[in-house]
Symmetry: C2
Subunit: 202 residues, 2 copies
């Protein structure tokens, strides 16, 4: 798992790039902001941004202080039976949130994302489009069904994260991982590969 702050550099330059990135992502969204614009805003060469942060994805993760790169977790969800992707996705999600170091940081990120329009947009563009959509696409459903299935999976995962870790609804908050996997996994699996009324395909 990628850790933030992995690449060291001049603290000042690093910080001005992060500030510029926060502004750019906030104003234009994840898709709209470019490394070139961020570099210009920070008054540095784009190559320096790549040197310090690698990809735009990693720069984004460092900007929000994400403890893990969700994209790196995708292969382990896809590895195994197609009928159990839902369970593996829920299990991995619970393991990341349940981590004593990462969990509280994720709660803080989600609280910020829900409170502000610009970070809600980040959550949508990054977690939904970059991460969940990859899982759904690789689950082998018709391409035109990918957006709605992704949105449905996201709705259950967001609600599970907030219900269990932020609002702390019992007995969901203290249930063991495998019980939650058995209860919520089938919902996610139906959204991923089950029969759905798909009149809102886009």
């Amino acid at each position: 798992m990628a850790r933030t702050g992995r690449r060291k550099g001049s603290p000042d330059t690093r910080e001005s790039i992060l500030d510029a990135a926060r502004e750019a992502f906030g104003a234009r969204g994840f898709d709209g902001a470019s490394i070139r614009t961020i570099a210009a805003r920070a008054g540095v060469d784009p190559a320096l941004v790549h040197h310090y942060f690698g990809t735009k994805e990693q720069l984004f993760l460092d900007t929000v202080g994400a403890p893990v790169n969700p994209a790196e977790l995708v292969p382990s969800i896809l590895d195994g039976e197609r009928e159990a992707i839902g369970e593996r996705l829920v299990r991995l999600f619970l393991n990341v949130w349940g981590d004593p170091v990462n969990g509280p940081r994720l709660v803080a990120i989600v609280r910020t994302a829900i409170a502000h329009d610009w970070s809600a947009r980040m959550l949508r563009e990054f977690v939904v489009s970059q991460v969940l959509r990859r899982v759904v696409t690789t689950a082998g459903v018709p391409p035109e069904e990918v957006p709605v299935r992704t949105a449905l999976v996201a709705s259950q995962m967001i609600g599970l994260g907030i219900g269990r870790y932020v609002v702390k609804i019992e007995p969901l908050a203290s249930a063991d991982t495998e019980t939650v996997v058995a209860m919520v996994g089938p919902t996610v699996q139906r959204y991923l590969t089950g029969q759905l009324p798909l009149s809102c395909r886009t």
Copy 2:
């Protein structure tokens, strides 16, 4: 539907009761705060609190600025076939959130609730315990299964509300009501009355 500010009184007295209520609900939660304590804190007689706000439930709703009293909506969810409670719950939820006046106020309340511990507790104690639990209880499941089923229903409803109206994930955000009902209703119905592994009964 009950509207806030229905009962008029001296604006000063009304405001001091609301301030006292906010403090008391924040410190002790919905269940822990009493009309008596709130009245004492505001320096008025408990009868005056009842006169201005009616029940503790209505006082709470006025405190958070809730546009509707969710408890008043419960009967319409329960009226009809048991196998379609999930669909009716989702449909009603979408109608309340989709209302051009109430919707934006609900988004504001949820954003506050997620951002602060004390209001997350309010959301849990009030919406989950007072409202959703009534729906689940009346759905006729064994009493020991009510808490976990309520929590699961809450997880999907929270995620649907946030995904569709706050984070605005497409195509879920612009799908018509009946399409969402058909997609998410079966999930809620399974959580309400379906077969679940119930080892985390409380």
